[in-house]
Symmetry: C2
DNA sequence: AGCAGCATAGGACTAAGGTCCTATTGCGCC
DNA sequence: GGCGCAATAGGACCTTAGTCCTATGCTGCT
């Protein structure tokens, strides 16, 4: 359910905040509203899934500026811009920088809710992927240099013999390294290993 | 080089077409211009890499309508919109539907040329990927039902024994199927096979 | 000085993968 | 009714991978 996701609203217009909060909560979302970008930044970083509904024109920090701050802080929170007076280049630029949508006030409730649904789903998927990636990278970090090297040949489909030849060492030693790679990467098969490496962006290395 | 790419300009303003053609050609691109969407559609489909610089407001078919036609015809040509009087939602919508950019006239020559470079590179990459995918799918189509089934277990890292068990047949038969899978898929190793399947979106099947 | 970790390697063995040849059954097609 | 193909399978045999035990030389840290 949506109980673990939170929708954040940042808008300097109090009546807007009020009506958005009402809409979101009656649609079953947990929601919080902020009157300025600064207020939102003052909040402890939200660690769960969610999304941000962001006004463009605000005193001090604008919506796009807040987005840049969040991006610089490695936030993955998806953003839906909501603005009364948008100009074309701001909208296009927002989309290029990954916004889920750039909506004009007054916005249709259903359109907004659909966008939120999409944004939260995307965020969940992105978070799951990031977690997976992190786990794999931790395993990779446990490999010694030689083990990493051997692994790159293994995921290229090289035989132990070929790897031994390429590295100029005994096939026996390759087997040892290879066994440790499988242990440390927690892979049960070459297929598993290939999959892990592909996810983590480890490139295969072909014997010349 | 850029000799195999063509840039298409579709704009109803003759002076715009002329100056764009001049700009593109002096930057080393092969370029063609059309006064209307219909004229462009009348042209034989361009099979190579390239991109489309498209005006939004035109008599009869508009830019976005042309994009929809091309999308329906499975075109992969990237589009850069170029418009004098864009409204926000058109721009945002264009970006959501995959436009490379949505630029306002008058456009800075360097910005446009950079966008074209990006668009053509993306198109080349997309085309290369599509070709690769097509080759893999053709190989997949050569597999018999049983072979496909066995392959799904193989790329899950299952042992022949486990596959035999799951399918209720002899391990010997799995070896036969497996050998034929490797032949037909033109894979030299399990690692190769996993890679091909991952590219083609064939999901591994785990033994229960 | 001594220990931990890495890279190296041999011996002995098991298991798993792969290939060649042969063979049977069942299905659809000309 | 025979032909081709998919699916099934056994025998014989070789190659690869993986594991357990043992062992050496090097580096860096304490």
């Amino acid at each position: 359910m949506n109980t673990d996701a939170t929708i954040f609203v940042v808008d300097d217009d109090a009546s807007m905040r009020k009506s958005l909060l009402w809409l979101l909560r009656s649609a079953g979302w947990r929601a919080e509203a902020f009157a300025s970008a600064e207020d939102f930044l003052a909040r402890p970083v939200w660690p769960g899934p969610g999304c941000l509904i962001l006004d463009v024109r605000m005193p001090h920090l604008t919506g796009p500026q807040l987005r840049d701050r969040l991006a610089a802080a490695n936030s993955s929170l998806p953003i839906i811009f909501l603005t009364g007076h948008g100009d074309v280049s701001t909208g296009v630029d927002a989309m290029k920088k990954g916004a889920v949508d750039f909506l004009l006030k007054p916005v249709d409730d259903q359109v907004l809710l659909q966008n939120i649904q999409l944004a939260v789903e995307r965020h969940r998927a992105a978070r799951a992927h990031a977690r997976e990636l992190h786990i794999i990278r931790e395993r990779l970090a446990r490999l010694s240099g030689r083990e990493q090297e051997v692994m790159e040949y293994v995921i290229a489909g090289c035989l132990n013999k070929q790897i031994a030849d390429a590295l100029g060492i005994a096939e026996k030693t390759i087997k040892i390294h290879r066994g440790r790679v499988m242990q440390k990467m927690e892979a049960n098969s070459v297929a598993d290993l290939v999959h892990l490496c592909q996810t983590a962006g480890v490139a295969p290395r072909r014997a010349t």
